[in-house]
């Protein structure tokens, strides 16, 4: 591509944003990839395995990080937020605010700072379960491979980390920075957040300890997670013998999310596999409206269907109640096939909470649909959404989408060179 071509700006460093950035860059485009948190990877970095292959997300992330490291055309900005975007397709000016990391890239990950740090912060990466030091690395394979400091968690005047670092990598005086870049197109790959399960009152999340969400399940199963990969009941740390999965927790519900979140069926089936791998005898029940695993994901459902101790129950959950003495949960559900109600008790209830698009911080022009997804690809030139912010879906769909968005942006970049 013409060296005069303006770069493409990708907002969001989850798997979709990373993919858009790489696919455009490997085709010759310059790319600025900006992520609001301190590390790339987004949601998938917090997952233990992908359905249906049950393979670790870090496997693909590692290849992608290597591609980034090898590609001089990609500039990665972390702790970055878009402040403004002006201009027209082919010729935008983006102002990006970069919050201080307090760590310079001379950091070697030697971890002396972590050993020295006296303060803690809630571990956001683990959805608030457990703590990290104020100086933290989200996950061992994180990119960029350097720590970050959450300054608000530090004790007044503390500079233990700076004193401990012999590589002069801690800079507690770092200030917020602004960067202005001229870009030809913008890809929004800002992803999703789990629906706030506490809002679904009848399901007991927030009140009952042993009602957890699917995203927390990912952390419990992950060897790097807060329980070192053991799926245990939060209330007493015991091994659960019976687990219920509640599908459409918030999704397909006019009072919450009117759309289907598209991945939570397959995600729960995957979680049933996690449970089975650890507890060969556990009883698993999956309460669903429809089991939505399109395409070849059907195999995954069929395989789970062969598991003798996994039951599927078509019907909505009326309520979840806790036995305060044991922490066990009584689930009352409709059994649509038998046409009656069932009551069953479980050690652990997992809510298959849905996907909520993350559109905060996107500039005007990215117009949300009625569900707040940004789904305007074909019409609007210059501004493209990709991945789960556009449409809820599994990784391969998000990445096909992200690769397509890369092409649209690539076209803008090509044109920007022609027009000077």
């Amino acid at each position: 591509m013409d060296e005069n071509a303006k770069p493409v700006l990708v907002i969001g460093g989850g798997i979709a944003g990373i993919t858009s950035a790489l696919e455009a860059a490997e085709a010759g485009c310059h790319v600025v990839l900006m992520e609001k948190s301190a590390f790339l990877g987004g949601r998938v970095a917090r997952m233990y395995q992908y359905f249906p292959k049950l393979c670790p997300p870090t496997c693909g992330l590692e290849i992608n990080y290597r591609r980034i490291k090898n590609n001089p055309r990609i500039t990665v900005l972390t702790l970055a937020q878009l402040e403004s975007l002006t201009g027209t397709p082919g010729d935008y000016e983006a102002t990006i605010k970069i919050s201080p990391r307090f760590i310079r890239n001379s950091c070697t990950l030697c971890s002396a700072c972590v050993d020295a740090c006296p303060s803690e912060r809630p571990d956001e990466f683990n959805y608030g379960i457990g703590k990290t030091k104020a100086v933290y690395l989200d996950y061992a394979m994180a990119f960029p491979a350097m720590y970050a400091i959450e300054r608000s968690a530090c004790k007044e005047g503390c500079r233990a980390c700076a004193d401990a670092c012999i590589y002069d990598a801690v800079d507690l005086t770092q200030k917020e920075e602004k960067k202005t870049v001229q870009v030809s197109a913008v890809i929004a790959a800002t992803g999703w957040a789990p629906y706030d399960a506490a809002r679904i009152q009848n399901l007991g999340f927030g009140s009952f300890k042993n009602v957890i969400t699917n995203v927390v399940m990912e952390r419990l199963a992950a060897p790097e997670g807060p329980t070192a990969g053991r799926i245990l009941r939060p209330s007493d740390g015991k091994e659960p013998r019976s687990i219920a999965f509640v599908q459409c927790a918030g999704s397909r519900d006019e009072n919450h999310l009117p759309y289907c979140s598209a991945v939570c069926c397959a995600a729960s089936f995957k979680h049933a596999n996690y449970v089975r791998a650890q507890y060969p005898d556990a009883d698993i029940a999956i309460f669903y409206i429809d089991r939505r695993v399109p395409g070849r994901l059907e195999d995954f459902l069929q395989k789970l269907g062969e598991d003798e101790k996994t039951r599927f129950n078509k019907g909505k959950i009326a309520k979840v109640e806790e036995d305060p003495a044991t922490g066990s949960l009584k689930v009352t559900a409709e059994d649509a096939i038998r046409g009656d109600r069932t009551e069953q008790t479980f050690d652990l209830v997992v809510l298959a909470t849905g996907i909520v698009p993350q559109t905060d911080g996107l500039p005007p022009g990215f117009e949300p649909d009625e569900f707040r997804f940004i789904n305007n690809r074909m019409e609007k030139p210059g501004l493209y959404a990709a991945g789960c912010v556009r449409r809820p879906g599994e990784v391969s769909a998000a990445l096909a989408d992200a690769t397509g968005a890369a092409l649209k942006a690539f076209q803008c970049a090509v044109r920007s060179a022609r027009h000077g």
Partner: protein, 751 residues
């Protein structure tokens, strides 16, 4: 000419505390014959890097060995001219962070790693940039909505496109539909505009050449240089293209196989395709007597989600039924519509479309299994449905039954076609009668692939993309959805996975992006995924080739063809640089400038083998550099301790493991050899598809070697490991080392 090696040792990050860097310097300067060797307490600092840079600039060194942290980190600091020979020795994650500091064994480990790095750098050759004249034209096969979109979007990005369509006109299936359901807001409304605009945009695009009623006779060559021969109206059109998008779409599942749902028993039982055709023509009626329909039954998953038919979900038939129910409602406000389903699958925003259909008071949805569909006399149909939500088994009477039949990819399985040809040949020519019979049986089994060719690739491994499962030619990577097993050939639309037209049009964009990327990388002589940017190429020293055909058979990407005698004819631009061929070749004649049998052999040779009485076993570990190696880095980052007797050699892929290394190592006195690759089998994780599996197969031959040498088979082990298993890896190493200690030393040690 001998290289001037600059060896740079970092003593930071506990390396200096843990090791005696002085004796490392001695090794580099002494036996390593380094032109210079420097130790820096913070090598990745500006000062440290400047030292190296300066040595390179003033020609004190022309090749670099950096003994510091893992090559996975600090890549931006140690980024020199990509053509400079550079080797990184991992003294931090793989030694200082996982071994006892200031210990004899730790020191020996570090010294061995340094020797290995120096040996490797000595053997590495400078890469030479390759540039050939590359065609950047994109060939799009299939002129349906997917193909047309791929063509138009590639052309809009500035690339010439050749679009080839088998039929007389563009448009494919979508050209014939009455309406489409929307992929964009407003979600509850169907789209009635046809695709005339899209067709015109393609036909009149200055960068697109369209050939209709065209058949691909042959595609020969490699990315950037595919020579295509297309037959159009009896004459041959020849062109050269750089990359290919296969957008050949789908065909309906053969309805004659749906007899169990009554198809064929009454004209009033139709498929969704036939129903769409009827609706597109205007009036919906009962085929048997032309009367209007008062009740319609849609049977979902007709053939799909059924082991006996299509095991997968066709993904579009739920939405299609909802749309078609709308056609009926438009024509008859009183018609009763029944939908019998297993699950209604309307993911994402499509839920809105379902919701709207559910609000219709005369449309009834029930989960259930259709047991039978029968003709009622004199007219009408009745279906028996079991396990319904309406209470037990029910009978549904309808004037018309629509079978929501599934989609089958319009693909051809290149590997199967090749296997069929091989079997046919063998059935004719094999000497033994038994073999002829066996081959004939195999040929019969594969008969259905006869004449299914689409791309007609002149590839040794077969004329089309290999199919993975159920005929879809993908490579099963969640993270890399467009990857296929043929370089620079991508699929899009319903041939890639079952999908509707809205998705398929978007899917075309991604495949077009990958095609553009592959021609751009080819133009720079660079590899595509997963070693994008790699500028090495395999060299074949053919004088010594014995025509064993292992490389041509084993290359996961079909990069190597054969001449009549069976001599390999490499196509370097098809190569992904995995090195599987290098591992396959028993004559060791395949090498890359920066990766070769000889190089790894010299690394093995560089490892010191302690005398037997020292009771220090030596274990050689070959590991995949993509997954196991990073996992070992993480073990280091987490300061997990493991046995100091191991020496790790990373491989581009475990499939590049040449068994000669194992023989070498055993005869040199290594006590055990551990091979660690990615998971193989149905849910393989190997980035090169079959690498670890091929390595496993080669182990059979190695077992014979062991027997011949009268060595215990337990000395050799191949394991599969995922990248997120650093603990397991450390344990595995320890457990293996214990086992080797128990077996005792390799008797060949002192020979």
């Amino acid at each position: 000419m001998d290289k001037k090696l600059g060896v740079y040792i970092c003593s930071g990050c506990s390396i200096g505390d843990s090791l005696d860097t002085g004796s490392l310097v001695k090794i580099a300067e002494g036996e390593g014959k380094a032109a210079c060797c420097r130790v820096h307490p913070f090598l990745c600092s500006r000062e440290g890097v400047d030292w190296i840079r300066k040595d390179l600039e003033d020609d004190t060194a022309d090749a670099v060995v950096i003994a510091a942290c893992s090559p996975r980190v600090k890549t931006d600091a140690f980024a020199f001219d990509p053509f400079t020979v550079m080797e990184r020795v991992n003294l931090r994650e793989h030694v200082a962070w996982c071994q006892k500091p200031r210990d004899e064994d730790t020191q020996m480990m570090a010294e061995d790693y340094l020797r290995m790095g120096i040996a490797k750098a000595r053997k590495m050759e400078k890469l030479i940039p390759v540039s050939e004249t590359i065609s950047k034209k994109i060939l799009v096969v299939g002129g349906g909505v997917t193909g047309m979109t791929a063509a138009k979007e590639s052309a809009d990005a500035g690339y010439e496109v050749l679009l080839v369509e088998r039929e007389a006109s563009l448009g494919g299936y979508v050209a014939g539909v009455k309406s489409r359901f929307p992929g964009h807001p407003p979600y509850a409304e169907t789209i009635h505009e046809g695709i005339r605009d899209t067709i015109d945009a393609v036909l009149y695009h200055s960068k697109i050449q369209v050939l209709t009623s065209a058949h691909i006779d042959k595609i020969q060559g490699q990315p950037g240089m595919f020579d295509v021969e297309i037959e159009v109206g009896g004459s041959i059109v020849r062109d050269r293209v750089g990359a290919i998008v296969q957008a050949t779409g789908w065909k309906p599942y053969d309805p004659s196989k749906l007899g169990h749902l009554g198809y064929g028993s009454s004209p009033d039982i139709v498929t969704n395709i036939e129903f769409e055709e009827m609706a597109a023509k205007g009036r919906i009626f009962r085929p048997s007597d032309g009367k209007p329909v008062g009740s319609v039954l849609f049977i979902q998953c007709a053939g799909s989600r059924d082991k006996a038919h299509l095991p997968y979900c066709s993904s579009v038939c739920c939405m299609t039924t909802l749309k078609q129910a709308g056609y009926i409602r438009e024509q008859n406000p009183d018609a009763k519509i029944y939908v019998v389903y297993k699950d209604i699958r309307t993911p994402g925003q499509y839920e809105k479309y379902y919701k709207a259909a559910q609000e219709d008071p005369l449309t009834f949805f029930t989960k259930g299994e259709v047991v039978s569909v029968e003709k009622k006399s004199p007219i009408g149909l009745a279906a028996t449905v079991a396990d319904t939500l309406l209470g037990g088994d029910i009978e549904i009477k309808a004037d018309l039954v629509v079978l929501a039949a599934g989609m089958v990819p319009n693909s051809a399985d290149g590997e199967a076609i090749r296997a069929l040809e091989d079997a046919e040949l063998k059935a004719r020519t094999s000497d033994s009668e038994k073999q002829r019979a066996e081959a004939a049986r195999k040929a019969e089994e594969l008969r259905r692939h006869k004449g299914t060719e689409i791309l007609n690739l002149a590839y040794r491994q077969g004329p089309d993309l290999p199919a993975l499962r159920y005929g879809f030619p993908d490579s099963h990577f969640i993270c890399f959805p467009y990857e296929t097993r043929r370089t620079a050939i991508y699929t899009a639309g319903a041939v890639r996975a079952p999908m509707d037209s809205a998705y398929a049009m978007e899917d075309a964009l991604g495949a077009a992006m990958k095609s553009i990327q592959s021609v751009e990388l080819a133009a720079q002589g660079q590899a595509v995924h997963p070693r994008a940017g790699d500028m090495s190429f395999p060299d074949f020293f053919l004088q010594r080739c014995t025509q064993c055909k292992r490389c041509t058979e084993e290359c996961p990407f079909g990069a190597i063809d054969e001449d009549e005698k069976g001599t390999p004819r490499p196509n370097p631009y098809r190569c992904r640089r995995c090195g599987v061929c290098l591992g396959a070749c028993p004559e060791r004649i395949i090498s890359f400038k920066n990766y070769s049998v000889d190089m790894i052999a010299s690394m093995i040779k560089a490892i010191g083998i302690p005398e037997e009485e020292e009771e220090k076993p030596r274990i050689l570990v070959f590991m995949c550099e993509n997954d196991a190696y990073p996992a070992l880095d993480i073990a280091g980052l987490r300061r997990l301790k493991y046995d100091a007797s191991v020496r790790v050699i990373p491989l581009r892929c475990l499939g590049s493991m040449n068994i000669v290394w194992i023989a070498d190592a055993l005869s040199r006195g290594f006590d055990g050899i551990l091979l660690i690759g990615c998971k193989f089998g149905d849910d393989y994780q190997c980035h090169f598809i079959k690498g670890s599996e091929l390595a496993d197969r080669r182990m059979e031959n190695v077992k014979e070697t062991l027997q011949r040498l009268q060595l215990e088979s337990e000395r050799l082990r191949l394991t599969q490991l995922s990248i997120n298993e650093p603990d397991k890896l450390a344990n595995l190493i320890n457990e293996f080392a214990d086992q080797i200690r128990e077996i005792g030393p390799n008797p060949y040690k002192d020979m």
